[in-house]
């Protein structure tokens, strides 16, 4: 499996009225072709910032350093006109809240049509028929009349299906799904997840799934990257993360999960306060909440190391014990 | 239970005081608002100390120095009677501020009362008041004021009454909307349950909570009243000669536009600065009162 997207030493700062927010602090991450990589972490840990940085959709007060290499090209250095050909065409994106991510004043087909026109997508039939066909693929009943509907006439789940269909129209190599089910009912969540799995199988789309829901991760991810306060603390195959979590943060995450069955339990506040990123703790950002922290953890940032094949951890304690 | 209610009511009052303080802190951060506040303070000081600040009496005629351009003797030049325009423009601030104060006092009293009644009691009272508000609010203010001046006759006092009878509608609108939401809050509910009268609830519970919106409206109402009043004076239906009113001055100055352009310029700049000052403060106050709207 080749690497489709490689993030190298990424830093993102936001200039705000209260000071500089160091939202992403030296993230390195690989997404392999055809896999589902889940990026998991608490709200505010910077996982959505990474997805927007890949698409270069961060607000103007953000400064980005590092490299984001997609199929050999550093996206951060592409001219805007080239970047537009990547957005939507090469990399699709689905957002958290389907209720607000479709434009309320245009019909579904009008908004889907734009993909065909802008990216000059090949069509076998008329664009409208292609749209109806896509809506059928994402299992929207009565697709023809739904295509002519306005977003407000559709339920949340339906709208998220429309988003998926829209992003599928260009058959992108990479799909970034930023908390695609968080705003939906539990039953609808499962349906959307199944839909995405199905699409991955049928179209061989690589998926970068951003979520704070371990239940979702267990269901669909191949590998998991755990994020804490703007840093990646652990990357491992999904089974490893659940059965053999090594980073203290990942461990406390997993301990918070009820055992034996899939859960919808969210991560928020299970460990107390997330640090203030205006003045992040020096060294390992987790050390103030870590039961094993010593002076080494407050000194320098721990490097991320491969401690077992395919299992990477950024912690002095973990790497250290094995190397000593 | 009673104890709980009491503490609830007290909590609201305490919070309301610190809200004012927070509003001031947010207001202070807005530079334009502070500039506006500075302009207003200067104008108020000018109005109060006009006799000390002016080199001549506003009515003093220097018949040898008619229509003189600005000079060190006459800073803003002179008019067709040789009166010192600098002194007249400074005195004109008194009329402008008087208009602002009188109009606001009348409009706000009418509008706030009707708004409170409309929002608190609802029903057909609300219906009648709000339909009237709709018409008055969308009617061009100057024409409605003109129509009222037709009935009352020309003059500054009548012009002020006319403008006040036009300006109350926006108070009624906003206060009604706020009353509707405030009256659903727990501390009003609590006051009702301990048997407070409607009047007391309106005056001591609801009114303090709509006060900040009223304050914003007032800062916008003053400049618009000044503009309408100066327009009426310009048309000859407001302040009458020999008043140094800015609108009236410009009405005369117009005849000498080619010969003595400064005559028209200075009183107009005075109107503009006054209005600008209040508008800046209004914008700043609005953003400070409703911080979620800042963007």
């Amino acid at each position: 499996m080749g690497v489709i997207l490689k993030i190298e030493d990424l830093y993102v700062d936001f200039k705000t009225e209260r000071g500089l927010v160091k939202a992403i602090d030296g993230v390195t991450l690989e997404v392999k072709e055809g896999e589902v990589l889940a990026l998991i972490g608490e709200t505010g840990c910077g996982k959505s910032t990474i997805s927007k940085a890949i698409m270069r959709l961060l607000p103007k007060n953000a400064t980005v350093r590092g490299k984001i290499i997609y199929k050999g090209k550093n996206l951060l250095e592409l001219p805007e006109s080239e970047m537009r050909k990547i957005r939507g065409k090469e990399i699709g994106m689905i957002f958290q809240d389907p209720l607000t991510s479709l434009n309320p004043v245009f019909t579904v087909s009008n908004q889907m049509e734009e993909m065909f026109k802008i990216h000059k997508l090949p069509t076998r039939k008329s664009i409208f028929e292609e749209i109806v066909n896509l809506l059928k693929i994402v299992r929207i009943p009565d697709a023809e009349s739904r295509a002519k509907s306005y977003p407000f006439e559709l339920s949340g789940g339906m709208r998220q299906r429309v988003m998926v269909a829209m992003m599928l129209s260009s058959n992108p190599s990479l799909l970034i799904a930023d908390e695609p089910t968080t705003a939906l009912d539990v039953t609808i969540q499962a349906q959307i997840m199944n839909l995405m799995l199905e699409l991955k199988r049928n179209f061989n789309t690589t998926i970068l799934l951003i979520t704070h829901n371990p239940g979702v991760v267990a269901e669909i991810a191949d590998r998991v990257a755990v994020m804490y306060a703007g840093q990646i603390v652990e990357v491992a195959p999904v089974k490893e993360v659940f059965d053999n979590p090594l980073h203290p943060y990942t461990r406390s995450l997993m301990r918070a999960l009820p055992k034996g069955h899939k859960t919808e339990r969210e991560l928020e506040n299970i460990l107390g306060r997330v640090p203030n990123l205006l003045t992040p703790p020096p060294g390992c950002r987790f050390h103030p909440r870590c039961p094993f922290a010593d002076e080494r953890c407050t000194g320098g940032k721990p490097e991320i190391k491969e401690v077992e094949p395919g299992h990477f951890v950024a912690c002095y304690k973990v790497g250290g014990t094995r190397n000593e | 239970m009673i104890g709980m209610v009491e503490s609830n009511v007290n909590m609201k009052k305490v919070r309301s005081e610190s809200t004012w303080y927070l509003t001031w802190l947010r207001f202070k951060r807005n530079k334009l608002a502070l500039v506006g506040l500075g302009i207003i303070i200067v104008i108020v000081l000018i109005a109060i100390f006009a006799p000390v600040l002016t080199p001549y009496s506003p009515d003093e005629q220097h018949l040898k120095d008619r229509l003189q351009p600005p000079s060190s003797k006459y800073l803003f030049g002179t008019d067709e009677f040789g009166r010192d325009l600098f002194s007249r423009v400074l005195y004109g601030s008194r009329t402008a501020l008087l208009v602002g104060i009188v109009v606001v006092a009348i409009s706000a009293t009418i509008g706030v009362t009707l708004g409170l009644i409309s929002g608190y009691f609802g029903g057909w009272v609300d219906e009648i008041i709000m339909r009237t508000v709709d018409i008055v609010w969308s009617f061009p203010a100057l024409i409605l004021a003109l129509a009222i001046v037709v009935i009352l006759g020309p003059g500054l006092i009548n012009a002020m009454i006319a403008i006040a009878l036009v300006g109350w509608a926006s108070y009624a609108r906003v206060v009604r909307a706020e009353t509707l939401s405030v009256k659903e809050e727990l501390f009003v509910e609590a006051a009702r349950s301990i048997g407070e009268s409607d009047l007391r609830i309106l005056v001591s519970y609801i009114f303090p909570n709509v006060l900040s919106s009223i304050l914003v409206l007032i800062t916008y109402n003053i400049p618009s009243a000044i503009i309408t009043a100066s327009s009426l004076s310009f048309l000859g239906l407001g302040a009458q000669p020999p008043s140094p009113d800015w609108g009236l001055t410009i009405a005369t100055a117009r005849r000498y536009l080619t010969l003595a352009p400064w005559y028209s310029i200075f009183p107009g700049v005075a109107i503009m600065l006054t209005v600008l000052g209040f508008n800046f403060v209004g914008d700043g106050l609005r953003d400070a009162v409703q911080p979620e709207r800042v963007g």
Binding site: K52, M55, L57, R84, R87, G88, K89, G92, F95, D97, T100, S101, L102, N103, P104, V105, F106, E114, M115, I118, H119, Y150, F152, E153, M163, M166, M167 | T132, D134, I135, S138, F139, P140, A141, L142, I143, L146, V150, P223, I227, S230, S231, F234, L235, G236, L237, G247, I250, A251, L257, P261, S264, I265, G268, I271, M272, L276, N279, F280, G295
Partner: protein
């Protein structure tokens, strides 16, 4: 569904129009004392007074006067001017086209420039050009029409000598009055457009549009502008009566022979039938503008349209 709503709203027009008609009608009757003496002055003979009272119908009961006034209005009869001695409708007919030309031009200027400046300002937020536009806007909003008109006259007519400063004539005579009336409105619309655009540009569906790879022009002019315009649509209509209000002063400044300057002359000449007619016309226009604002709002926003 939709038709019913419009019909219901149409009937809600009648009450305000009734109020406006009663208000215009009462203009003459609310004058303290005897209107006839007030109009003719202290030196009028009893015969003259009696004749005027009869001409104005003052010798009949109020409600009869109102009904007969309304019946005449329904036939397009606005009464006779006391000064010019010609039907008021003819006086107004001669003036109306001038006022419409002035307000119409100002309206078009206001929207073309207002929206353009608003969009530029919003898309170049916090740039020099944004500060320039917003600062100028506040200044233009703080000037009374009559002074703005005089200053434009002074600069373009007197100093530069490139535009005629008063009276009707060619299209050149329209430029200064139209900008006098239009500039403050450009300022208002630019500010509203900027605020709404900034609001809309933060919305999730704009991120979606960008994530689809749409070029900025499509994101701004299609996805953002359409949504930003919805709250502005009401203003397109509400603004019309206000333009007529501003026209009164503007016409007086530029000696533009429209309805506004007619109103001022009529007020000074105590020509009540003319004053009543103009107040009634502008009042009705206000009510209709309100109605249209309401209707268009329902038509343009699919969400409200569906609720019917």
């Amino acid at each position: 569904m939709k038709k019913q709503l419009i019909i219901r709203k149409f009937f809600s027009l009648l009450l305000p129009i009734f109020v406006v008609s009663v208000f215009s009608f009462s203009l003459l009757h609310l004058i303290p004392g005897d209107p006839a003496r007030y109009i003719l002055g202290d030196f009028a003979t009893p015969q003259q007074l009696a004749q005027l009272r009869h001409q104005l119908g003052l010798d009949r009961p109020l409600y009869v006067q109102y009904i007969s006034w309304m019946v005449k209005l329904a036939h397009g009869d606005f009464g006779t001017s006391l000064v010019a001695n010609v039907p008021v409708s003819e006086l107004i007919k001669g003036r109306l086209s001038f006022t419409l030309k002035l307000t119409g031009t100002a309206w078009i200027l206001a929207w073309i420039f207002g929206i353009s400046f608003g969009i530029i300002s919003a898309t170049k937020k916090h740039s020099l050009i944004d500060y320039g536009i917003t600062t100028l806007a506040v200044f233009f909003m703080s000037m009374p029409y009559f002074w703005l008109g005089l200053m434009l006259m002074l600069i373009f007519g007197v100093k530069l000598g490139i535009l005629p400063i008063s009276g009707p004539g060619t299209w050149k005579n329209l430029i200064l009055p139209a900008f006098t009336l239009g500039l403050p409105q450009i300022a208002v619309i630019a500010r509203l457009t900027r605020a709404n655009m900034l609001d809309v540009l933060e919305k999730d569906y704009i991120t979606t549009a960008k994530a689809k790879g749409l070029p900025d022009t499509l994101v701004i002019y299609k996805h953002a502008l359409r949504n930003a315009m919805i709250p502005l649509i009401t203003y397109m209509f509400l603004q019309i009566p206000w333009l007529f209000g501003g026209a009164v002063v503007t016409e007086t400044v530029f000696a533009w022979p429209g309805m506004g300057s007619l109103l001022i002359t009529a007020i000074f000449q105590r020509d009540y039938p003319v004053v009543q007619a103009i107040v009634l016309i502008i009042g009705t226009l206000t009510v209709i503008a309100n109605f249209l604002a309401d209707i268009t709002y329902t038509i343009i926003d699919p969400r409200i349209r569906a609720m019917g």
